[in-house]
């Protein structure tokens, strides 16, 4: 009994460590692949790990006109909330560890926390560049949350209308009944539209590619992070890595939760082999989404202005997600 109680925190700790490592690895992979697209050699894949070690060894400077405690607290909140998020998500394709203690609505709120922490850190640093960056981050958040909410509603509505006796807002339900298997061809197209929506939001959430206005290096010289250094910046790097993990896991958990394990179990393979197959399949999906949603988009577009980005999210992205919702509901009427 005691060992079982100890088991869960240990698995949780392992999982968080893995999330950090996977996140940093994929940050490196993203840089490497982007470099290859741009006919450069690029940094080694382990570069983010080296950056982390270097940053931790560097001096941490708090500017004179910053609000010290808030300035130091922001990166901690960013990392802590991102880590907490991992525990509520089906990372590695297994059911979320804290699945009994909160549902998808909580996840949606937790998703906002790292972004808020970055904005707070930016405001607290008292630098004009950082303040502008923080404003942009908040505006971006207001923009990409709506398509995301529509997407969650679409998936939850479809699943719970098919299985009213199951809990609608939990990932284990989606894992049992992946939304792609519940819909016909029309609804399938709707789900594809939803995947497009969430991949667009992915870049904005991770402050990458065409939506990196809060950090915009040529405009704001790093924006929200301009005054951060040393340990604080290392924490933001870590939270970036974990956020990458969390967000892609969310995409997988919501829209592509199909697993190989079920297939294996029908062939009588169960136990460790099935779990291993699941994890491998999870990483295949993870890699595809990371490269398609992040690296491809990053190298293929110029940065948008903040008003253009907002307009894009409220008109195009919201439109696509609503169309997806409409198609899924049409599908269930047919």
């Amino acid at each position: 009994m005691l060992s079982e109680i100890m088991m869960i925190p240990m698995i949780a700790a392992l999982m968080l460590l893995l999330a950090i490592i996977v996140g940093l690895f994929f940050l490196g992979l993203d840089r490497k692949i982007a470099a290859r697209f741009q006919s450069r050699i690029g940094p080694p894949i382990v570069q983010p790990f080296r950056d982390l070690v270097k940053l931790l060894a560097k001096e941490t400077i708090v500017p004179d006109n910053a609000i010290g405690w808030l300035f130091n607290l922001a990166p901690v909140i960013a990392l802590a909330s991102a880590l907490l998020l991992i525990l509520y998500l089906p990372f590695l394709g297994v059911a979320p560890i804290l699945s009994g203690y909160g549902d998808l609505i909580l996840v949606l709120y937790l998703l906002m926390l790292p972004a808020l922490a970055i904005a707070i850190g930016g405001f607290a640093s008292g630098n004009n560049y950082a303040t502008v960056g923080a404003q942009r981050k908040l505006i971006m958040m207001l923009s990409y949350e709506f398509p995301l909410a529509v997407l969650v509603m679409a998936v939850v509505w479809k699943t719970s209308s098919m299985f009213p006796d199951l809990q609608g807002f939990t990932f284990s339900t989606f894992m049992q009944h992946p939304v792609l298997t519940l819909v016909g061809p029309v609804g399938g197209f709707g789900v594809v539209l939803l995947i497009v929506t969430i991949l667009i939001a992915l870049c904005a959430e991770l402050i990458k590619g065409p939506f990196d206005n809060p950090e915009a290096d040529t405009e704001l010289a790093g924006g929200v992070l301009v005054d951060y250094s040393g340990r604080n910046l290392a924490l933001f790097l870590l939270s970036d890595a974990v956020k990458l993990c969390a967000f892609i896991t969310l995409v997988i958990g919501l829209l592509l939760p199909c697993s190989l394990g079920d297939m294996f179990s029908s062939f009588m393979y169960t136990g460790w082999l099935a779990i291993a197959a699941n994890v491998v399949f999870f990483f295949v999906k993870f890699t595809v989404i990371a490269i398609l949603g992040l690296t491809f988009v990053r190298v293929a577009f110029a940065r948008l202005k903040i008003n253009q980005a907002t307009k894009f999210f409220w008109l195009v992205s919201a439109g696509i997600s609503l169309l997806g919702l409409l198609l899924i509901s049409l599908d269930s009427m047919m």
């Binding site: 006919s39 004009n128 560049y129 990196d212 290096d217 040529t218 405009e219 293929a300 940065r303």
Partner: protein, 410 residues
Amino acid sequence: MHDAYKMFLGPVHPALEEPIFFDFKIVGEKVIATNLKPGNAHRGIEALGMKRNPIQVLYLSERICGICSVSHASTFSRAVEAAAGIEVPERADYIRTIFCELERLHSHILWAGLLAHEIGFHSVLHYGMKVREDVMDLLEYLSGNRVNYGVYVIGGVRRDIPKEKHEKIRQSIKYYNAAFEKFKDVFLNDKTIRMRTEGVGVLTKNDALKLCAVGPTARGSGLNKDTRQDWSYLAYGDIGVKAQLPSQVTGKINGDVLDRTIVRLLEIKQSAEIIERCIDQMPKGSLVSEPKAAVILSRLKNAEGEGIARTEAPRGELHHYVRLAKKEVVDTWKAKAPTYNNLMAVPVMMKDAQIADIPVIICSIDPCIACLDRVSIIEGNSGKSMNKYDLHELCLRKSEMFGKIERGHQ
């Protein structure tokens, strides 16, 4: 009414390749006032030049700027030749033209990459760097150097471009033409690039005329103005250069960043054509008017007169003024870079711009601060730089002092 706040850009900032200071007044994301203060890259090159003989100054002039090194050497040598009445052989003129145009090629290609960098499109930046590398290789192949070519001498050129080297040049020109097509496709058809450049940083034809804009900045606003066309020099008269206007591609002139981009892209193609025609038409003859440097030097020592030369550098019209006064050294030397004119247009372009437009607009005039900074007035060691009001004050005080002295004598 929202509160306006100040934002400084520079002297060191990722959007700037060279040090210059901008001071913006901003409401929200909108720029409402722009001020700028150059003077951080001043090195006193002209003062150094006035302590050396013209042949030594030629090397110095190449080092005013890394990217426009040919333009400065070309303009200075022509100014000295004009002052001393030295004729340049025709073949040397053609070789000088080829180097001028190669410089324009690599400058414009680099610029196209930099513009993409400013708008966060790093793939195009790296493509630009890759293409530019080929121009640099060609320049190294022809002159032995990548940045300061050392090809110009007073009265001609140092290195010949023999027939064997023509094949390599032709190959490279084919490569640049392909690169031009690709750049044109990217900059004209990419949606995100158009979103960031169209209607941004508008400089009307009237404003461009009033602010004396030069080079691609003026042509982007529809001024039919090109030193190679209007005041033909070197071999350009034989070749017949036409100023490239954005209306050739889009049919209209807006004077925005996109138009300035189109002008520069068209000039990539034009430069490739000029180089090709230079190779085809290159006359036979000697490379220098006088092979012995000592003879040239003694002529320059005994020369008296003024020379002025203007060149269409990649960024616009470049002036050099030289006065020789039967001395060992250059008596007076003054260089005026195109960025001096174009930078004045930046505050006008910044009207109604967003913060996101600031680096794009600054980049769109292709500022070259090392060329621009010809003067920096500093009071003692205090680090305080003086503006025109301070200088006026100084002048008044000095007049007062002279008045006192005169009264004292009486």
